[in-house]
Amino acid sequence: MKKYILRRFVISLVTIWLIVTVCFFLLRLLPGNPFASTTLMTQDTLDKMMAYYGLDRPLWEQYVTYLKNLLHGDFGYSLKYAGRSVNYVIATTFPISAQLGLQALAFGIPTGLLLGILAAKRRGCTADVGINLFVIICTAVPTFIIAALLQYFLAVKVKLFPVAQWKGFRYTILPTICLSLGTVSGYARSMRTLMLEVDRQDYLRTAKAKGLGTFRIVLFHQIRNAIIPMITNLGTEIAGMLMGSYVIEKIFSIPGMGAYFVTSIQGLDYTMVMGLVIFQAVIVVFANFIVDLLYGVIDPRIRVA
């Protein structure tokens, strides 16, 4: 087990290094430069700016410097917001996005699983049809449309929730619901399919033949087996949720990380993009690692030696 963890750790480090490298050079492929959008800048000023941030040096030298700084945990300074370090941006925006993401997951996953189980158990009944309909609506209507509609009816018309901004728990409810809808519908759909698939397995027939009660069968035999395939994507999903959603953050004007992500790529804010990407990669890799370990806990059949 120790050996496995060590090996995984080394592979993770290599993966992160590869991501850093690929991203670094991909970003430089983008046409333009970070200061191009700032109007009224003479060539002289531009050269000075490039020199100040070290962008005039050869690419490999910049790369080595960046890696060196990275090893010291220094993501560098933003090229767009003068004097604001990437570390500072992550430290201030990540908690907000993470809170929103965690709330959405904490609400979305159990709700989705429950709906899926309910739909599978009441197959063909009104509950199943209703849940199916809900899932289809969530899948068919783009997030920004649902979010805008909910905002319009629940916040503007009925005034149940604040329309936007980020000032307390009450402000988080609507964005959390919008963010979690995808999770809810996704989990409900796959849980339903998997529950029905497990329903046909021999071990479930055995459990029934043993005379176990429905509750016991569903809880200990069916759910436990149905849930395994869904764990695979959990790591990526958690990471994605923690990083924040640009769409939701824009609609509800939440000062999260998602907005920085998009604007910094559009503005070619190299250091900012790199910092955010690396931060996300670390979370993804770490989450996948935990998920792999969790596999063994939930399904002893695939436990690693």
């Binding site: 993966t15 590869l18 991501i19 690929v22 991203c23 991909l26 970003l27 492929l29 983008l30 046409p31 333009g32 063909g124 289809i136 609506i137 899948t139 068919a140 209507v141 783009p142 997030t143 920004f144 449309i145 805008a148 509609l149 319009y152 503007v156 990526t236 640009y246 769409v247 824009k250 609609i251 992500f261 998009v262 790529i265 559009q266 993009v273 955010l276 990407v277 996300q280 990669a281 993804v284 890799v285």
Partner: protein, 335 residues
């Protein structure tokens, strides 16, 4: 003994006479055999929801193709005096802020969305299938390298290369399709590799190999038919996903460049002013949702129809209807 003399219900044995076996055609096949695709077609035809979604989709596609042709307005003709008009007899969906006719724009946008959806779903899928089958079939270091590339590619935020591609190709429908292809080929590649692995060591594959069939032939002739249903189903879920993604990209501001438009573009433009001109937001949203919805439902029905294992379980309503029709009750009244 009693039971040898009489059969059940006390009928004496003497009343039974043996059947002349020589005149019986027990081996004759009475019904025509149903091939896989005939079965699929039959199951789809019986599914009312599938037919409904198919008709809905066909109607939407026809509108997208013909509505702009027969419209009195041009999709890019501005008329500042007629800005933000509510839907009326002359402008069925109203006009936008610079006075362009929304009926025309919505259907022109639907064209773009549908094209992006179709091609943007099929292209990454084909790439993924090819890469996945190479990885799965050849295994070893080829597999290792391809899978690591995919692992890393999935960790890099797609936004980076989407923007890269959109900047490089200039934000047209073509660029978005390429962006979708680069963004989405990894999932199918992973899935397809898994399926290939699953069938690689089966006896029929071994048999084909022994007969000297080339790898691509085995994949195409022997493995593909086994997973075709699966592929069609994921493909039908990829089309709405591609339309969805295009809409989200449009919202972020990475959409089709004006005056050309797409449904996602129209909806996200409308989302900015839904409090004042609700129709400008609601109509494109409704159309895009209907398109995604019908594709999605069609995909669901296809999944049921294509899976022979589900044959007996599926389409309960169809069975119920048939049973009721058979027992002489009025059709069409149930449900």
């Amino acid at each position: 003994m009693e039971h040898e003399k009489s059969y059940q219900d006390g009928i004496p044995r003497s009343l039974f006479r043996p059947v002349d076996r020589s005149r019986l055609d027990t081996e004759q096949i009475v019904r025509p055999s149903v091939s896989y695709w005939q079965g699929v077609w039959r199951r789809i035809r019986e599914d009312r929801l599938a037919i409904f979604c198919f008709l809905l989709l066909a109607a939407l596609i026809l509108l997208a193709v013909f509505a702009p042709v027969f419209s009195a307005y041009q999709y890019d003709k501005t008329s500042l005096m007629e800005g933000n008009l509510a839907p009326s007899a002359s402008h069925w969906f109203g006009t936008d802020s610079v006075g362009r006719d929304l009926w025309t724009r919505v259907w022109v946008g639907a064209r773009v969305s549908l094209a992006v959806g179709f091609i943007g779903a099929i292209l990454p899928f084909l790439i993924g299938m090819f890469v996945g089958s190479v990885a799965g079939w050849f295994g070893g270091w080829v597999d290792m390298v391809i899978m690591r590339i995919i692992d890393i590619g999935m960790c890099i935020p797609s936004m980076i290369y989407v923007i890269l591609i959109l900047v490089y190709f200039g934000g047209g429908a073509k660029a978005i399709i390429i962006a979708l292809a680069v963004m989405n080929w990894m999932g199918p590649a992973r899935g397809y590799r898994g399926r290939i692995l699953q069938f690689k060591n089966r006896e029929f594959t071994l048999a084909a190999q022994t007969l000297g069939a080339a790898p691509m032939r085995i994949i195409y002739r022997h493995i593909l038919p086994n997973i075709l249903g699966n592929i069609v189903v994921s493909l039908t879920s990829f089309v709405p996903a591609a339309i969805f993604m295009e809409a989200s990209l449009a919202f972020i501001g990475l959409g089709i460049a004006p005056p050309m438009t797409s449904l996602g573009q129209l909806a996200s433009d409308g989302a900015g002013m839904y409090r004042t001109y609700f129709y400008q937001f609601a109509i494109p949203s409704l159309v895009i949702s209907l398109i995604i919805f019908s594709f999605f439902m069609l995909g669901n029905c296809m999944r049921d129809a294509l899976d022979p294992q589900l044959r007996d379980e599926m389409s309960r309503s169809a069975k119920k209807r048939r049973r009721k029709a058979g027992s002489g009750k009025e059709m069409g009244k149930n449900e």
